[in-house]
Symmetry: C2
Subunit: 330 residues, 2 copies
């Protein structure tokens, strides 16, 4: 038979239960009300805010880049260059890869000369390795990386333009130093610059690599670099060289396109001679170029094929520095 709630045995118990259930109901209503009150505010207030914050962050992440500069035995040049690079438009942060093992970073001096336009992070390394700069640094927040050698100065104009070009070719290494490999009849590859014979595809020269010591590339490639065959790391460590060639192999393999896009710099300078350290850089070693040819052939073995592709596209900035730099006789 149907027993209505209020007809539970015992009047006292009935009233108690009634009170209890009323309390429960009221509590539930309050909770519901609270939730309802919260919901619109999340939608109307917090969502837009969240969107705005995300948008600012993501705009920042898309519209700015992180400079990664590895340094060894040229702190005077580093500091000179930091004063220049810290003020480049669209720079988000600087990561200095400190290969001066055991030496203190100039953090005190850096801070005493603040404030600085952007955060600069000094990453102390434990071993002096060329490939230290190719770590997937957790401080990296931007999609784009600008990698510079610690003896290279590129003008802000060049960098601003090259960054805008990278944004149109985000899959590729957009930079200022083109190099190429050539095939020889023996099947052995050789590495070189423009003084080396043209690969022979029509008129003019071709390049198949853009060096990462003065270039923009997608930060995702640093993560990608961590997943390469051990033999690649061994090669770079053995030669203390060729990390840039390896990167070009990686990018070419990944995209199926030429790994790089060459932007002709207006103002690029090598400050090597200006250092007080007397240290003159790896590329002065006698075996440097031979090593790089060696690396090309080793990498072809490791990757089981030659993924590098040729390009002859040279990009310059329309109407800059000369507003009529595209003028023709017509």
């Amino acid at each position: 038979r149907y027993l209505p709630f209020c007809k539970l045995p015992g009047r006292v118990m009935g009233i108690r239960l009634l009170r209890f259930t009323s309390v429960v109901i009221i509590v539930l209503l309050l909770v519901a009300g609270a939730l309802t009150a919260l919901l619109p505010s999340i939608k109307d207030d917090k969502m837009p805010n969240l969107r705005r914050e995300q948008k600012t962050q993501s705009q920042s992440a898309l519209d700015s880049f992180t400079l990664i500069m590895q340094t060894y035995n040229r702190t005077d040049l580093l500091l000179k260059l930091l004063n220049h690079y810290q003020a480049i438009p669209h720079l988000h942060k600087v990561i200095v890869v400190w290969n001066n093992i055991g030496e203190k970073i100039p953090e005190e001096m850096w801070n005493s000369l603040g404030p600085h336009p952007v955060p600069v992070v000094f990453k102390l390394q434990t071993v002096n390795r060329m490939r230290n700069r190719l770590q997937n640094f957790p401080e990296l927040e931007t999609k784009a990386v600008l990698m510079m050698d610690d003896d290279t100065l590129v003008s802000a104009h060049d960098l601003a333009f090259a960054f805008s070009v990278w944004q149109q070719f985000p899959e590729q290494i957009v930079g200022f130093v083109p190099r190429k490999h050539i095939s020889t009849p023996s099947g052995v590859y050789s590495y070189g610059s423009f003084e080396l014979q043209n690969p022979g595809f029509g008129n003019g020269d071709q390049y198949s690599m853009v060096l990462i010591g003065a270039a923009f590339f997608h930060s995702g490639y640093l993560e990608h670099f961590q997943r390469q065959p051990e033999a690649v790391y061994a090669l770079i460590d053995e030669t203390q060289n060729c990390d840039d060639i390896a990167m070009n192999f990686l990018v070419a393999k990944h995209t199926g396109k030429p790994s790089g896009v060459f932007v002709k710099p207006v103002d690029i300078r090598n400050l090597e001679k200006d250092t007080n350290s007397g240290y003159s850089g790896m590329w002065h070693r006698a075996e440097h170029l031979l090593q790089r040819s060696y690396c090309v052939n080793k990498l072809v073995n490791i990757y089981d094929g030659m993924p590098l592709k040729y390009s002859n596209i040279m990009i310059s900035q329309f109407g800059f520095p000369n507003y009529a730099n595209h003028k023709n006789k017509m």
Copy 2:
């Protein structure tokens, strides 16, 4: 009860049926055999052949371009230019848009001076219209169109390079003559070249159009052009001008990108002064440039907005003509 086939009434009838069914079975087996015999041959022989033919045709369609050259009152220049352009690498066919109404095409002379490297088709027009060259010609077989004015000579080197660039930017107009529009505080647009003020986006100049009188573009845009608002055709006919500006609006609207990619020509020549006809081309009319500003504003009305986008990318050929044209002081 079960009655086996062979127990049909009448031995004579039985034998006849037996023969009949045997014949049917044999015929069916023959047909089946024939089909089986045909099947592999379609797969093994014809398919690869078909693929090879298709591949040749499609390779041809993708790896070559059609030159469309409109001509009016400058047949001497046309013939001079045809001798040059007929031999450009990767040229598939020439379509001459004959705006000399009522005048015979020089077909006899052309044939008498054969053979020619590629087919040349003369399309007689009924009315002398600037937009005649923007028809979707049935003779067009390639994906790429090279459109040239009948007084413009561009070197084979430039064309070969620009064609290879177009293949990397097939959605855009890849050519040798950049122009721009600028906004003014009144909201009225103006048209011009580099002597006009820069649009003011950072350093240097920008272009927002690439003229089609010396450019590569996708043949699909000709078909697309047939589907524009009537007002566009009216505007072009009214001014006998601006078909190229209209094309840039079309491409920009379609891609959401800058309509063109500028390739800096090494050797581009205007042969106007060389004509015996005395005819010196539309751009000498006093109102020519004013008309073009007028057209920009009209097109913004027609398309209900300004679709043109700026670019400052200038492309040159790496290592050509000077094998060290990318050398820097570093």
